[in-house]
C-alpha cells in the first residue's frame, strides 16, 4: 500500500514535470517602462505616458493579456530622463533591472541606451523624436519608432514646397533637434538648390531673432521653413510679424506645440497661416477611430488644454497626437506578445517585425524586418493654423483627403 502511494506520488511528480498545458490562475505583472522628459518637456512626457497608460488600462480592464497559458497584467513604470542622455542611460538600467519587456521613450538618449537594452533583448519604442539616425532595423534591431520621421517630413516638404516655386529660407536652431532636422532638410532640397534662398542657424532659446529674420527677408526668401524647438518657432513668428513680414512659415511637428500659441496669445493673427507637418491623425476611414480614441483619452485624463481661446471665446484643446503613437505601440507590442507566445523580451522584440495592429486613427501600424518606423513617410500631412486651431491644407493630395479634428471645447 505504501509503495502504491509512493507510486502515485511519483506519477504525479512526473505529470507535473510534463505539465506544459497546465494553466496558472493568478495574473502576473508584465512591466512596460516609460522613460520621458517629465521635467524637461512636460507636455510630450505627459501625452506619451498617458497613451501607454490608456492602452494598458484598457487591456487590464478586459482581464489582462493571455500569453501562452499565463495571464498578465501590464504594469507601467515611469522614469524621468529630464531630456538628458545620461539620465536616460540610468533609467534604462533601472528599467532592465525591473524586468521591463519594452521601454517606451521620447527618444532621449537612444544612441546610448539601445545597446544596453539589446543585451537583454529588450525593445526601445520611440514615440516622439524623428531623428534619422535613431532607428536602423539592421544596426539597431531592438529600436522601433511610431512617430513621424525627420526624413519623411523633409522629403514631404520638398515635394510640397518646390512645385510652389517659392524661394525657401531654411532656418534651424542649434539644438540637437534643429541640427538633425537641418541635415534632413538640406538633403531633401539638395536636388533643387534654386528653391533655397538661404540656410541659417538660429540660437535656440533666444527670444529676439530680429536680426536673423531681417537677413532672411533680405535674401529674397518668400517662405521660411523653420526646424527648431517651439520657442524658436515662436520667436521667428514674432520677429517676422512684428516687422510686418507676412512670409508663410512652415515647421516640423513642433509647430503644433501649445507653447507657440501660448507665447503668441496676445497676437493670434501672428499664428494664422503657420503650417506644420506631422503624422496624420485621421485616416481614410474618417475621424471615427481617432475621435473614439480622443474621447477615451479625455475621459481618462481630461482634455489637454492649449491655454488659448478662439476669437469666439471657445477653449482650444490639443488633440493627443503623440499619445496616439505610444498607445499604438502598446497594441503592436500586445500583438507581438501573442505572436511570440512568450514574454521573453528577445522573442517579443523579434515578433515585433511580424505583426500589425490597428492604430488609434484607423491606420494599420506595424514594423517589418527592413523597417522599424511605424509611421510611413507617405503619412506625413500638412496642417495650417487659423484662429488658434489647425486644419489639413487643401493643396496637398494626402492632406486634402483628411477631415479636420474638432479642437475646441
Amino acid at each position: 500500500m505504501r509503495r502504491l502511494v509512493i507510486l502515485l506520488a511519483g506519477i504525479s511528480v512526473l505529470a507535473a514535470g510534463c505539465g506544459g498545458s497546465s494553466t496558472s490562475s493568478s495574473p502576473k505583472n508584465l512591466v512596460i517602462a516609460v522613460d520621458v522628459p517629465v521635467t524637461g518637456s512636460p507636455y510630450i512626457a505627459q501625452t506619451i505616458r498617458q497613451g501607454v497608460e490608456l492602452a494598458t488600462s484598457n487591456l487590464n480592464g478586459g482581464g489582462g493579456l493571455r500569453v501562452g497559458n499565463q495571464t498578465y497584467k501590464l504594469r507601467v513604470k515611469l522614469y524621468d530622463n529630464h531630456g538628458s542622455a545620461r539620465q536616460a542611460v540610468e533609467d534604462t538600467r533601472r528599467a532592465l533591472d525591473a524586468g521591463a519587456v519594452t521601454i517606451v521613450t521620447d527618444g532621449t538618449g537612444v544612441d546610448a541606451t539601445w545597446q544596453l537594452a539589446k543585451q537583454k533583448g529588450v525593445s526601445l519604442a520611440i514615440a516622439y523624436d524623428g531623428g534619422s539616425g535613431l532607428v536602423d532595423a539592421e544596426k539597431r534591431p531592438n529600436v522601433f519608432r511610431i512617430a513621424p520621421t525627420n526624413h519623411g517630413i523633409a522629403f514631404r516638404y520638398a515635394e510640397y514646397l518646390i512645385p510652389k516655386k517659392l524661394k525657401v529660407g531654411l532656418l534651424s536652431d542649434d539644438s540637437a533637434y534643429g541640427r538633425e532636422g537641418a541635415a534632413d532638410i538640406a538633403k531633401a532640397f539638395s536636388e533643387n538648390p534654386g528653391s533655397v534662398a538661404l540656410k541659417l542657424t538660429l540660437p535656440a532659446g533666444q527670444a529676439d531673432l530680429s536680426a536673423q529674420i531681417l537677413r532672411a527677408k533680405r535674401s529674397g526668401a518668400t517662405a521660411l521653413l523653420v526646424w527648431g524647438q517651439p520657442p524658436t518657432i515662436a520667436a521667428v513668428l514674432s520677429a517676422a510679424r512684428s516687422i510686418g513680414w507676412q512670409v508663410p512659415v512652415y515647421t516640423p511637428p513642433t509647430g503644433a506645440d501649445p507653447f507657440i500659441r501660448q507665447q503668441l496669445a496676445d497676437h493670434p493673427k501672428w499664428v494664422d497661416g503657420l503650417t506644420f507637418a506631422s503624422g496624420r491623425p485621421t485616416a481614410e476611414v474618417g475621424t471615427g477611430p481617432f475621435t473614439n480614441f480622443q474621447s477615451q483619452y479625455e475621459a481618462a485624463y481630461g482634455p489637454d488644454p492649449v491655454g488659448v481661446k478662439t476669437s469666439s471665446g471657445q477653449k482650444v484643446v490639443q488633440p493627443p497626437e503623440f499619445g496616439m503613437y505610444s498607445y499604438d505601440f502598446i497594441h503592436v507590442l500586445v500583438a507581438a506578445l501573442t505572436h511570440a507566445g512568450s514574454v521573453d523580451p528577445a522573442k517579443v522584440t523579434s515578433a515585433l517585425n511580424q505583426v500589425t495592429a490597428q492604430g488609434a486613427n484607423g491606420d494599420q501600424r506595424g514594423f517589418n524586418e527592413h523597417n522599424h518606423d511605424g509611421v510611413v513617410d507617405d503619412d506625413i500631412y500638412f496642417a495650417r493654423f487659423h484662429d488658434m486651431t489647425y486644419q489639413p491644407v487643401q493643396d496637398d493630395p494626402l492632406s486634402a483627403t483628411l477631415p479636420p479634428i474638432v479642437q475646441t471645447r
Partner: protein, 390 residues
C-alpha cells in the same frame, strides 16, 4: 483541386435545373477560376485591412529570373515586381512570397517591407505611384510554380536540353447541346480577345437539355512562348531543335497551343558546358482558335456543335491558365492586369554548403535531447512501476 471540385459542383448543380428548363445559360471558363492555387505564390493570410480600396487600382508586371545548375535544376529565384498604382488613396499591400530578401527595384517610389512570407507596402498614392520590389525567393517552394522544366545532360560530345511545359493540369469540363451559331460567335470572340492578349470577359453559352460532366477530364496547359540561347565555349558542329549561330545555338517555339508540350535541343560539339538563357512568356492561344481551312471566322466551320463546344471550353481554359501564369507574385488588385516573363539562366557556380556541421548542431541535436528526456521519463516511470510490484 478545390477549384476543380467547385467546377464539378457547379456542373452538378446545373444538371437538375435542366429537368425543369429546356435551355439554360452556363458560364464558360474565363477569366477565372484558376485551376490551381499557385501561381500567384501563396504563403500566408494577409492581415486584416491589407487590401486596396476601390479608389486605388494596380497593374503588375514582373520578371522572374530562375538560376539553374548544369542539369537544369532551379537553384535560385529572383522576382522583380513593378506594381503601377493609379488613383488617390491609401494602400496597404501584402504580397505573399517565400522571400529571403527584398529591396526596392529601379524607380520605386517607396521602400518595400519584409516579413516572414510577405512583401509589404504601405502608404498613400496620389494619382500614380510605382512600387518596385526586387525579391530573392526560396527556390524550393517556388520551383513548382514556374512554368517550364529544364533537363540538361551531356553524353560525350552530345549535349541535350529538354524543355517541358510544366503548366499542364487536368480539369473538369462540361458538355451539352448548344447551337452552332452561338458557339461560332463565342469562338470568334474568344479568338479576338486571345489575339489581342486581352483577359477573357465572362460569357455564357446556352445549353439545351441536360448539362453533364465530360467523361474524361480535359488536359489543359498554358501556351508558352520560349526563346533561348545556348552559348558554348566553341562553335558546335551541329544542332537539332535549334540553329547554330557561331558558338551559340538559338531556338524559339511555342510549347502548347496544339503543339508539343516538350521539345528537345540536341547539340553536337561545343567544347564544354554551355551557358543557358531561356525566356518564357505565357502567351495567347493561336492555333487552337484558328478556324478550319484558314477561314477568317468560325461561322463557316463544318465541325459539329459538340466539337465546337469542346474547343471553346478547352481553349478558354488554356487562356485562363495562361493568364494565371501572368501573375507569379500576387497583384493586390484582383481585376488588375498582370504580365510576367520568366528567364532561366545558368547560375553562377556555388560552393557546397557545409550542411552536415549545421544539422548536427541544430535540429538533430535538439531531437537527440528530446529523445533523451523522453527516454528518461519513461525509464523513471517503468522503474517506479517495477519497484511498486516487487
Amino acid at each position: 483541386m478545390r477549384r476543380a471540385l467547385a467546377a464539378a459542383a457547379l456542373v452538378a448543380a446545373a444538371a437538375p435545373a435542366a429537368a425543369l428548363a429546356d435551355t439554360q445559360q452556363v458560364l464558360l471558363p474565363g477569366p477565372t477560376p484558376y485551376p490551381t492555387a499557385s501561381p500567384p505564390l501563396t504563403t500566408v493570410t494577409p492581415p486584416v485591412g491589407a487590401t486596396l480600396t476601390f479608389r486605388v487600382h494596380a497593374s503588375s508586371n514582373q520578371r522572374v529570373t530562375a538560376g539553374v545548375d548544369s542539369a537544369g535544376r532551379v537553384v535560385s529565384v529572383r522576382a522583380l515586381q513593378n506594381l503601377h498604382l493609379t488613383g488617390t488613396g491609401d494602400y496597404l499591400i501584402v504580397v505573399p512570397a517565400p522571400v529571403l530578401d527584398v529591396q526596392a527595384g529601379p524607380g520605386s517610389q517607396s521602400q518595400p517591407g519584409q516579413r516572414r512570407g510577405q512583401i509589404l507596402w504601405a502608404g498613400f498614392a496620389a494619382k500614380r505611384k510605382l512600387l518596385s520590389a526586387d525579391a530573392t525567393l526560396r527556390p524550393g517552394p517556388v520551383a513548382a510554380s514556374l512554368p517550364l522544366r529544364l533537363r540538361a545532360a551531356r553524353d560525350g560530345d552530345r549535349y541535350t536540353l529538354t524543355l517541358a511545359n510544366a503548366t499542364e493540369v487536368s480539369q473538369v469540363a462540361f458538355q451539352g447541346t448548344a447551337a452552332k451559331p452561338e458557339l461560332t460567335s463565342l469562338l470568334d470572340q474568344t479568338r479576338r480577345q486571345s489575339l489581342a492578349h486581352e483577359r477573357l470577359t465572362p460569357v455564357y453559352v446556352t445549353i439545351s437539355g441536360l448539362v453533364s460532366q465530360r467523361p474524361q477530364k480535359a488536359r489543359i496547359a498554358a501556351p508558352l512562348l520560349v526563346t533561348g540561347e545556348l552559348r558554348f565555349p566553341q562553335a558546335p558542329t551541329s544542332a537539332t531543335g535549334g540553329v547554330v549561330d557561331g558558338s551559340s545555338v538559338r531556338f524559339s517555339f511555342v510549347l502548347g497551343d496544339d503543339q508539343p508540350l516538350a521539345r528537345r535541343v540536341e547539340v553536337i560539339g561545343g567544347g564544354g558546358e554551355p551557358r543557358l538563357r531561356v525566356e518564357v512568356t505565357p502567351t495567347a492561344v493561336v492555333r487552337g482558335l484558328r478556324p478550319p481551312g484558314g477561314a477568317a471566322s468560325w461561322r463557316s466551320s463544318g465541325l459539329p456543335a459538340a466539337a465546337l463546344l469542346r474547343r471553346l471550353i478547352d481553349t478558354r481554359m488554356e487562356l485562363v491558365r495562361s493568364d494565371q501564369y501572368q501573375g507569379f507574385l500576387a497583384n493586390p488588385d484582383s481585376l488588375g492586369l498582370n504580365t510576367t516573363s520568366y528567364v532561366y539562366e545558368t547560375a553562377a557556380a556555388r560552393r557546397a554548403a557545409p550542411v552536415a556541421a549545421e544539422s548536427s548542431g541544430g535540429s538533430n541535436g535538439t531531437l537527440v535531447l528530446l529523445v533523451a528526456i523522453g527516454g528518461a521519463i519513461v525509464a523513471a516511470a517503468a522503474g517506479l512501476v517495477a519497484w511498486a510490484h516487487s
